[in-house]
């Protein structure tokens, strides 16, 4: 549920990467000109006191946090805006604009106490009214993140520093819904009504946006009055370099100090390079195969399990991510507090054949739907086809552009599909809409009464330990039934200058400069 928008943003990024691939030869020529040899230490020639330049892989479509779905925008906005609460590195929700909060006994009323003296970057004080305005804007205008407020009945300002949110049912995931990322940021009404927000957003965050020159750069300057204390790096210039090889060459040459525009096949080489620090952090994204249970013979759980046994997850992860991804047979990565260990399936052709025999399936010919906008899915599909051939299944590959792909998925016109979900935090994001009977993303038509009960329970159970148990049970059942055949969690890959300190590569891909410094 969290992710049509996220997917779209990912798609934009991918498309750019694809277009850039054709320029690869030119990019390589540029870096073989010998630049990186002698300019390696030119970077610390005095830049350090003047801030840093970073390269992101594409230009933001707009800077209105409530409207954009592009990850490029959030790479910038992360530093301009604040949310009521925000996830820490372990994705636990922590106070931000709200210093503390209370929940009523019946779990239906949440009261947030705002931090006092917070100012927008133009000097206007931020009050409870701005919070109410921001959330109402998202809900009333049905903006990109409106689905996150589906349980919210009413939002009101009790006084200047107190906001009350009424929900229709106990919602243990309310905090991640209203603070999970900057798409639910607190905006300034004046900035919205004037229309400036799309190019010159004004927030309460540690950096103020001073210049957005389309096609070239975005400049941020430190906000000296930031409630958390002024950041150490005085200014940040974002450049847009979609061609990974070019970005890496610029980083090595000291022209930029940070980038996430990195071709995965270069990661190994960069890890051995002293002039660059590179971090590969497992993300909350996951990739999966799903079989259409409305079609025969995929309604038979044994056929689905046979396919889960026939594929080699390590090989798939290798060809798509060059060893930067982590194989996982469930959705939630090991680093998350919600992780459940599960390793039922492994490459086992005998077992797969036996299951197919039991199901009475012979000479199965089926189609795998992948998207040419995600070239790695086309690659992986060829590996999967080869592996399924070993157990007597003929797999045809159907490669579509992503728009058509989504269409076909929603119409149920597929045997098997291969895709990923991004940007999940709460376990409810991972499982509910994908596996609940009739769930909005349950395109595969999975239905299991027991799982439904568990997922419903998980939504309203407030005890953490109990909730974790519920989701562990649900997830295990989902994987046992092979509703999704989970494959792997990809990584967040970022490279930066060794002079940059205090910066953390986060699993939710949030780029935060507030604690970073140079030198």
């Amino acid at each position: 549920m969290s992710t049509t928008s996220q997917r779209r943003s990912r798609r934009t990024r991918r498309l750019l990467a694809l277009g850039a691939a054709t320029l690869l030869a030119a990019g390589l020529a540029a870096c073989s000109s010998g630049k990186s040899v002698d300019l390696g230490d030119a970077g610390d020639s005095g830049d350090t006191s003047q801030g840093i330049t970073v390269a992101i892989a594409g230009e933001p479509d707009q800077l209105d946090p409530h409207k954009t779905t592009s990850y490029f925008s959030f790479e910038v906005l992360e530093n301009v805006y604040d949310t009521l609460v925000e996830p820490d590195e372990n994705l636990q929700m922590q106070p931000s604009l709200a210093e503390s909060w209370d929940v009523s006994k019946d779990q239906l009323t949440w009261t947030f106490h705002l931090r006092q003296g917070v100012m927008f970057q133009d000097g206007t004080p931020m009050t409870a009214k701005d919070v109410v305005y921001s959330f109402d804007r998202i809900i009333d205008d049905k903006l990109a993140t409106a689905y996150r407020f589906s349980a919210v009945k009413d939002i009101k300002a009790l006084d200047d520093d107190t906001v009350e949110i009424d929900v229709t049912a106990p919602s243990p995931n309310l905090l991640s819904s209203i603070g999970g990322f900057k798409g639910v940021a607190i905006v300034e009404k004046k900035n919205v009504t004037s229309g400036d927000i799309t190019t010159h957003p004004v927030g309460t965050g540690p950096y103020e946006l001073t210049d957005f020159t389309s096609g070239d750069h975005i400049d941020l300057e430190a906000n000296p009055d930031y409630w958390g204390g002024a950041p150490s790096i005085p200014s940040i210039r974002y450049r847009f370099i979609s061609e990974g090889s070019t970005a890496v060459a610029a980083l090595k040459a000291g022209e930029i100090q940070w980038t996430d525009s990195i071709p995965p096949q270069q990661v190994k080489a960069l890890q051995g390079d002293d002039s660059v620090d590179i971090d590969v952090v497992p993300s909350n994204d996951y990739w999966y195969l799903a079989l259409n249970e409305k079609r025969k013979p995929f309604d038979d759980v044994r056929v689905r399990q046979a396919i889960a046994y026939a594929i080699d997850r390590d090989a798939i992860a290798q060809v798509t991510s060059y060893g930067t991804a982590k194989v996982n047979e469930l959705a939630i990565p090991e680093e998350s507090a919600w992780y459940t260990a599960y390793d039922t399936y492994s490459k086992d052709d005998d077992k797969a054949e036996q299951l197919l025999d039991e199901a009475g399936v012979k000479n199965l010919t089926m189609e795998l739907m992948v998207s040419s906008d995600y070239p790695e899915t086309v690659k992986a599909a060829q590996v999967i086809a080869d592996e399924l051939a070993d157990v007597g299944i003929t797999l045809k590959i159907r490669s579509l552009d992503f728009g058509t792909w989504l269409d076909e998925q929603n119409k149920g016109n597929f045997d098997m599909l291969y895709m990923g979900w991004l940007g999940n935090i709460d376990p409810d994001d991972y499982y509910y809409s994908q596996h609940h009977t009739g769930g909005s993303s349950n395109a595969q038509g999975y239905s299991n009464a027991e799982v439904d009960t568990l997922l419903d329970e998980g939504r309203t159970t407030t005890d953490e330990t109990e909730r974790k148990e519920i989701y562990a049970k649900a997830a295990t059942q989902i994987a046992d039934d092979a509703s999704y055949i989970y494959l792997y969690n990809p990584s967040v890959i970022q490279a930066y200058s060794p002079d940059l300190s205090g910066y953390t590569v986060r699993s939710d891909r949030a780029i935060r400069w507030v604690d970073a410094s140079m030198g």
Binding site: A21, T22, L24, A25, L28, S245, P263, Q265, D314, A315, Q318, V319, S372, V378, K379, A381, Q382, V383, A385, D386, E387, A389, I397, R398, S399
Partner: protein, 306 residues
């Protein structure tokens, strides 16, 4: 229309009895070293297309990630790709796709184009005007752009690629056939046949068609080269042959990410495209000389008074 009349040659040169052309043409062609090389390469490509799947050392779709991206070696002559597949086997087997697409699409262009050209040139008048203006419209589009548009409508795939390439090369055949037909139509033997009351179909089939075959054959050979290039271009753009089926164009596309890492991924399929199209062009040029009555007489004279 006038241009066609201008190209009309002296009847004495033009009337080469069809029966006598057969045995000498091939020998004359092969006597030219350049054409000989082209023919040999073509023969190899066609052989590869016919028996490739049986002589390939590895299965074209056998992936093995543990042997990915290995350079050329005794075990893998052309190295392996990022999925661990044998590049030599894939280049070999991909020749079938190229030849298949080239033959079918040029077949379409040949049949439709020559048909239109014959009718247009032989009947003349309004029919000629209408048909040739339609051909002009199709001809006005850049070749690849039109092919892209057609594939976009039909959906990506081998069949769409064949149809698209066939359609875009049709106008060339129509023009070549029409121009030759115009000149042959006014030849005395055609006129004589018509005076005797022979039907149009018979005249076209027995008198016109055999005598315009020279230029058409040359055009066919050249078009085969362009068709292979177009297929590679469409597959490169993801609109032609769909993976995992190997195709030279698609292999080049996949090789982009590895230009600096694994040169063998792009060099071998690229060389295959180059050699094949070059061979078709060389043979086309050779045929052009041999089938042109004037040049043929010269060649025959040089070859020892034949």
């Amino acid at each position: 229309m006038t241009d066609a009349i201008e190209t009309r040659q002296d009847p004495a040169d033009d009337v080469v009895p069809v029966a006598e052309r057969g045995p000498g043409t091939l020998r004359l062609l092969l006597r030219n070293p350049v054409s000989l090389v082209g023919s040999v390469v073509l023969l190899v490509v066609v052989l590869a297309a016919l028996v490739g799947p049986w002589i390939a050392p590895y299965g074209v779709n056998d992936t093995d990630v543990s042997r990915a991206l290995q350079g050329p070696s005794g075990a893998h002559w052309f190295g392996t790709d990022d999925l661990g597949r044998d590049v030599f086997s894939r280049v070999l087997v991909a020749s079938r796709v190229s030849v298949e697409v080239a033959l079918v699409s040029v077949g379409i262009a040949l049949v439709v184009g020559v048909g239109v050209g014959l009718v247009s040139g032989y009947l003349g008048g309004i029919t000629d005007g209408v048909l040739m203006r339609v051909v002009d419209v199709v001809f006005a589009f850049p070749v690849l752009l039109l092919a892209l548009a057609i594939v976009a409508v039909l959906g990506p795939g081998l069949t769409s690629a064949m149809i698209a390439i066939g359609v875009v090369y049709t106008p060339i055949f129509a023009r070549v056939a029409r121009a030759s037909t115009l000149s042959v139509r006014s030849e005395p033997y055609v006129q004589a046949s018509r005076t005797m009351g022979t039907g149009n179909t018979y005249v076209v089939w027995h008198h016109v068609l055999p005598n315009i075959s020279g230029p058409v054959i040359v055009q066919t050979s050249l078009s085969l080269a362009f068709a292979i290039l177009s297929e590679a271009a469409l597959s490169f753009l993801g609109l032609g042959v769909q993976p995992p089926r190997p195709s030279w164009g698609r292999m080049l596309f996949d090789a982009q990410d590895f230009v600096g890492v694994a040169w063998w991924l792009s060099v071998f399929p690229g060389a295959a495209i180059l050699l094949t199209t070059l061979a078709f062009n060389l043979v086309g040029d050779g045929l052009g000389q041999v089938l042109d009555p004037k040049r043929r007489t010269q060649l025959a004279a040089q070859a020892g008074g034949r």
